[in-house]
């Protein structure tokens, strides 16, 4: 049981320090437990929100997203010693670094869940409850106008094309030219969409082609408008 005193002592610690305390469960279980509680309370809402939005629909809803979040935190507790603070002392930056680390754990677990044969829903994505979660703003890395255009283009895809794109991009890595969807995930996705893994490739290819064509039309329209002036 976590004592109020220990809890209060740890409330002001940085995330990196809390993670260190969490590794001391054998020597100081009270401190480890209090650190866990403080760490969990700081990040659980954030992690649940991003997992619900990103994965809730594909895993089957809020309960499944909650399961994923709980498992992510348990893994974080067990592997607290592997977190690398990268020499960051600033509390805000450290918080974001920790959240990115939690995100990577959640992503691995999600990929693992897909590979474990969880059934993928076939309902139209736009109708799912997790869509009610407020969308985060565009990340600073991409051109906001381009991002908005691609979002529009994504909206023009059929539900099955959206599903294929969403699932395959869970394995996206910018620095790798050729990435394969794991065979068991492809098989499960194909079954959910009543098609074959081979046809998934065609669906993905067709979806990307549609996006490209959509962007081309937007660019053409912009060029025409510019000429007309």
């Amino acid at each position: 049981m976590t004592s109020d005193g220990t809890r209060a002592e740890l409330a002001g610690e940085t995330d990196a320090d809390l993670l260190v305390y969490m590794t001391m469960g054998r020597d100081d279980p009270a401190a480890a437990s209090a650190a866990w509680e403080a760490f969990y309370r700081r990040h659980v809402r954030y992690l649940y929100a991003v997992c619900l939005r990103a994965y809730g629909g594909m895993l089957g809803g809020p309960d499944a997203a909650g399961d994923l979040v709980a498992e992510t935190f348990r893994r974080a507790y067990e592997h607290a010693g592997t977190f690398d603070a990268g020499g960051i002392a600033d509390a805000d930056r450290l918080r974001r670094r920790v959240r990115a680390w939690l995100g990577r754990i959640a992503q691995r677990l999600f990929q693992s869940a897909l590979r474990g044969g969880r059934r993928l829903p076939t309902v139209r994505l736009a109708q799912e409850k997790w869509q009610d979660v407020a969308a985060p703003p565009a990340p600073s890395g991409g051109d906001p106008q381009r991002v908005a255009q691609v979002r529009e283009a994504l909206g023009s895809l059929s539900p099955r094309e959206q599903m294929v794109i969403r699932v395959t991009f869970q394995w996206y890595q910018a620095d790798r030219a050729h990435q394969r969807l794991p065979n068991d995930v492809a098989a499960d996705l194909a079954a959910a969409l009543h098609t074959t893994p081979e046809n998934l490739r065609q669906i993905r290819r067709r979806a990307l082609k549609k996006i490209k064509a959509y962007l081309g039309r937007l660019a053409e329209g912009a060029a025409n408008r510019s000429e007309a002036r």
């Binding site: 649940y48 929100a49 909650g66 985060p136 991409g142 994504l154 996206y172 790798r176 030219a177 998934l200």
Partner: protein
């Protein structure tokens, strides 16, 4: 003559720039979990509006995994008669488990999950 291999199923195969653009768009929609600091920062404000489910409200219960085991039937695990007896007693006594039993359950569950993951892992990862 060798037969042509099917194109890779990953998103980068044909047009890396388009793939990067699509990934950015998915990220901006929140359809990909933030994996780096700027992405985490961008997602923070929206996250504040979300209401937590009851199942995530108690950190110690989450750590012990008790709410998961209460809701989801556990897979059959290699049995330890002592643990089995304690679990049966706990079921009768409204789910209270000794800490060492909880720890053993967690270890067993993780071992089973690791095993299952290893079994399912294909050569193309």
């Amino acid at each position: 003559m060798k037969s042509r291999r099917p194109p890779p199923a990953g998103p980068n195969a044909d047009d890396p720039q388009l793939a990067a653009d699509v990934h950015d768009a998915l990220r901006s929609l929140g359809w990909v979990v933030p994996l780096c600091e700027p992405e985490a920062l961008a997602a923070e404000d929206a996250a504040a509006e979300v209401e937590l489910p009851e199942s995530l409200s108690d950190p110690q219960a989450v750590l012990a995994g008790t709410w998961v085991t209460a809701r989801t039937p556990a897979p059959p695990l290699p049995g330890d008669p002592g643990i089995d007896a304690t679990l049966a007693r706990a079921a009768r006594e409204a789910g209270h488990l000794a800490p060492d039993v909880e720890q053993a359950m967690r270890r067993d569950r993780q071992a089973a999950e690791r095993q299952r993951e290893d079994d399912r892992q294909g050569p193309q990862t």
